[in-house]
């Protein structure tokens, strides 16, 4: 068992304005990854403003005081870099990987939109990006079969008012109602240096990065009080299974079984991660062996299970299967539930456990094989757990999970009485 999942140096410095700067030097390739985690996500959105954190992420690419509209992308790509950003319920991150000689450019761009976005934000930009986001919603959720499963599962898993109750993409009605003043306030409230972690990984050193961070970010003022999101850590069990059936234009019945488990980063979430791999990753998994290969009621390429890595409330475990021709949604749902139930009653064998740990080990080193993968991980651990060095504990944490722990966790959080089942059924054909 490796002692560490992160065998590279890590340095953390806090600037006077509260910005944490994490550096991990690796001179292997002439590239650097720059990654900013802002501790704001859709969990911070009040009712009537769903989708705002994500729409805001789009606005961050549209110019700031010293960067003209459309120039951000052009400068990074013109430097040979790759860039993007993502928003989820927990947080928003922005990242670019550039040839090492362009590190300073990347930091200048990030500082300019952290400290100088609001004066550049226009109604025209907001209207344009609102249309883009509405098209993103159409493309990813509305125009594809089963595309809205995640949007349907969240409100079944989390009650109204819970920070994970609504999906990050938001509702069309709220997006239509978004006004400029709200976004200006959003930036002033959350995009402060003391609410962010700047991580740089690759062909550079601590002194260089800290000096550049001080130069470009150092004068951006801290914000005294940053509002916290509603506390979602306790979600009372209903004691009643929740079921929803959607009859719509889909090619075959599909079932999702979902449970609230534990927040990402806790030892029990490590157990859930290994459990999900035993249950639903690969042809050797229980779901594949039982439903796709054994009873042959599920499509082989479409069975799986995964634990979602959300950190601020009990995160979901989701298992899914799609019916083979002639198999009903009900039959499939029963089969899926049975395999999930057995996690508590049929002990995980050493072979199953070793298989899961081997797959997770490869997945871990795959993320660590690029500077951008490492930068994202360090930013996450610094933001969510206060110390980027805790990144090294995750892989050993997974590898320490025992079969008994899996059975205990399954008995605790995967009970039928606390289960959400979402079933899609094709419309009857005349």
């Amino acid at each position: 068992m490796p002692d560490s999942g992160y065998p590279w140096p890590i340095s953390t410095t806090r600037l006077d304005n509260g910005l944490r700067v994490v550096v991990s030097e690796d001179r292997t390739a002439p590239a650097v990854a720059v990654n900013l985690w802002y501790d704001v996500g859709s969990r911070h959105e009040p009712a009537g403003q769903t989708g705002f954190a994500h729409l805001f992420e789009h606005l961050m690419f549209e110019g700031s005081v010293n960067v003209a509209k459309t120039e951000h992308m052009k400068l990074v790509q013109g430097a040979g870099g790759s860039l993007n950003a993502t928003t989820n319920p927990d947080r928003t991150n922005y990242f670019e990987t550039v040839p090492a000689e362009h590190l300073e450019l990347a930091l200048w761009l990030e500082a300019d939109r952290m400290g100088g976005l609001v004066p550049a934000l226009t109604q025209e930009t907001l209207d344009n990006q609102r249309d883009v986001v509405k098209n993103e919603r159409r493309q990813r959720y509305e125009n594809v079969p089963y595309g809205d499963a995640w949007l349907r599962l969240l409100p079944l898993l989390y009650p109204p008012g819970h920070p994970y109750h609504h999906a990050t993409i938001g509702s069309m009605a709220d997006l239509n109602a978004a006004d400029l003043a709200t976004f200006q306030a959003f930036h002033q409230t959350y995009y402060a240096p003391n609410n962010a972690v700047l991580t740089v990984v690759g062909d550079t050193g601590v002194e260089e990065v800290v000096a550049l961070a001080e130069k470009y970010f150092g004068a951006i003022p801290a914000r005294a009080e940053i509002p916290v999101a509603p506390d979602g850590r306790v979600v009372p069990a209903t004691g009643v299974p929740t079921e929803e059936t959607v009859v719509t234009d889909v090619p075959a019945p599909r079932v999702y079984v979902a449970h609230r488990t534990y927040p990402f980063g806790t030892p029990n979430h490590d157990v859930v991660t290994v459990l999900a791999t035993v249950l639903g990753s690969g042809r050797g998994s229980r779901l594949y062996q039982r439903l796709a290969d054994g009873e042959r009621i599920a499509q082989p390429d479409l069975v799986g299970a995964y634990g979602v890595d959300l950190a601020h409330a009990p995160a979901p475990l989701i298992a899914t299967a799609t019916a083979r021709p002639g198999v009903s949604g009900q039959r499939l749902a029963e089969g899926l539930a049975e395999v999930v139930d057995e996690l508590a009653t049929v002990p995980v064998t050493p072979t199953e456990l070793d298989r899961a740990k081997a797959l997770l080990t490869t997945a871990w080193w795959r993320q660590m094989s690029t500077v951008d993968g490492r930068a994202d991980a360090l930013g996450r651990y610094a933001t969510q757990f206060g110390d980027p060095a805790t990144v090294a504990d995750r892989l050993p944490g997974w590898l320490a999970v025992t079969a008994d722990q899996i059975a205990e966790v399954a008995a605790e959080v995967l009970t039928a009485a606390d289960r959400v089942t979402l079933t899609y059924r094709p419309e009857e054909t005349p």
């Binding site: 870099g81 050797g284 490869t362």
Partner: protein, 449 residues
């Protein structure tokens, strides 16, 4: 003002280097490897000259069914035992298919690479191919394709391909086949395809820390029991362009977006204009900052994204634009997209645009070629297209050296807005009249079914 207004220039450029490449012939097969010192993960990829282009017309999807059937048990163990053995090493057997090659690969911590390659070879060279299993896999693949074809895109892609290349040709039919072609395959098709193409040695591509890898041992496992000489790769295919533009409408009732696929034939991979063609494609549609994405997304807000690029295989190529646009703006999105293609052909590219395109393409060689998987992909390019070890370094130089005149000439020569086929998959009842009114070309309804 607290921010620094002046944009910093670049620091001293680091020299570009692609990992050291090692080539060997062992046990009748070729090994091409890249040395990644200190890397914990390693990838091994067996490359066979058995791409979709080898499938007989009418048997599209054969390679995909065979790929899945490889894991249904081998001469040594049944399907479950095989899955448990390979996954216990931390990898799945990853298979892939394109027009030129079939690929099977494993990705594991470096100390497990030998065992993983033995299992890879066991599945590829000695699959059980029990007739009942093959039939079941075929039926599952047909169902999987039917599921996939319920999404927007695959039908539009197939319609475009057939119109560009002719459905009588293998390369005018979908690379992975369609639900009907797969359903029509029989067991013998699969076993014959295996014996014809999967026991030739091929090439073993390896990316990892070669100080901890026994290449000869890997090769011995990968090439054991193989035979058969090199095969004719075929010559580039001359594909005539259409003499006029037209719209093919594929009905998808209730669709909230229209899926656009615009295209025409283009040069094969070995064409001498490859680099300027790639750069012209980048300026027009290959990057976020490209003309098409700028206009259709960032100015108009019609879409979440639009891309246009030249793509090429050994024997043929095409230029294609793809997007999903809100139903109500289908006609203007189409008109403006064709307008950008025409403008790029007529006026070429500007120095500003080209500067971004060439730096981006060159920089991507440093930025994107980091992981063993990515390096293995780059080595695959060397093998498939007979390129030298220093290809990536030379490519970087030619990208950076390309000037406006060369790239504009490539745009003028290789873009053909007047012979584009414009496939629109969307709610025909809502968009048909507007498409006719655009005057872009005759509107043809694709037959349902």
């Amino acid at each position: 003002m607290t921010l620094i207004a002046e944009r910093p220039g670049p620091g001293a450029a680091r020299p570009y280097r692609f990992p050291q490449v090692v080539r060997r012939v062992v046990a009748g097969g070729q090994v091409v490897a890249a040395h990644l010192p200190g890397q914990n993960l390693a990838v091994a990829l067996l490359l066979l000259d058995a791409g979709a282009g080898r499938e007989p017309v009418g048997k599209e999807g054969l390679g995909g069914v065979l790929a899945k059937a490889l894991e249904e048990g081998t001469g040594q163990r049944d399907a479950t035992a095989y899955a448990l053995a390979i996954e216990a090493l931390g990898t799945e057997l990853v298979t892939g298919l394109d027009w030129d090659t079939f690929q099977a690969s494993v990705q594991v911590p470096v100390d497990r690479l030998g065992a993983a390659v033995e299992l890879l070879a066991e599945a590829v060279r000695t699959p059980r191919l029990d007739p009942d299993d093959v039939r079941r896999v075929r039926d599952d693949e047909a169902t999987a394709l039917r599921m996939d074809w319920a999404n927007p895109g695959p039908r539009a892609d197939a319609v475009l391909r057939a119109d560009l290349f002719g459905a009588d040709n293998r390369w005018g039919r979908p690379m992975y086949g369609d639900p009907d072609s797969v359903a029509g395959l029989d067991v013998e098709d699969v076993t014959v395809f295996h014996s014809e193409w999967f026991i030739r040695p091929g090439t073993l591509v390896v990316a990892g820390d070669l100080d901890r890898i026994d290449l000869d041992g890997l090769a011995a496992a990968a090439f054991a029991g193989t035979g058969g000489g090199p095969v004719d790769r075929g010559t580039p295919i001359e594909v005539p362009r259409h003499d006029r533009r037209r719209i093919i409408l594929v009905d998808r009732p209730g669709s909230v977006q229209s899926t656009l696929r615009l295209g025409h034939p283009a040069p094969h991979r070995a064409h001498p204009d490859h680099v300027p063609i790639a750069l012209a494609g980048t300026v027009l549609g290959g990057a976020f900052t490209s003309r098409l994405n700028h206009l259709i997304r960032e100015v108009r807000g019609y879409t979440y994204g639009i891309r246009g690029e030249f793509a090429s295989s050994r024997r043929f190529g095409r230029f294609a634009v793809s997007s999903g646009v809100q139903t109500a703006v289908t006609a203007p999105a189409l008109v403006e997209s064709v307008g950008e293609i025409a403008r790029t052909r007529a006026g070429g590219v500007t120095e500003d645009e080209l500067a971004v395109a060439r730096s981006w393409r060159a920089g991507q060689l440093s930025v994107e070629l980091q992981s063993p998987r990515a390096i293995a992909g780059a080595l695959t390019t060397l093998v498939v297209h007979d390129l030298p070890d220093d290809y990536h370094a030379r490519l970087r130089e030619s990208l950076l050296a390309a000037d406006v005149a060369q790239v504009s000439a490539a745009a003028a020569t290789h873009l053909h807005p007047e012979s584009l086929t414009l496939v629109v998959e969307g709610d025909a009842a809502l968009i048909r009249d507007e498409l006719v009114a655009t005057g872009l070309g005759e509107v043809v309804d694709h037959p349902v079914g």
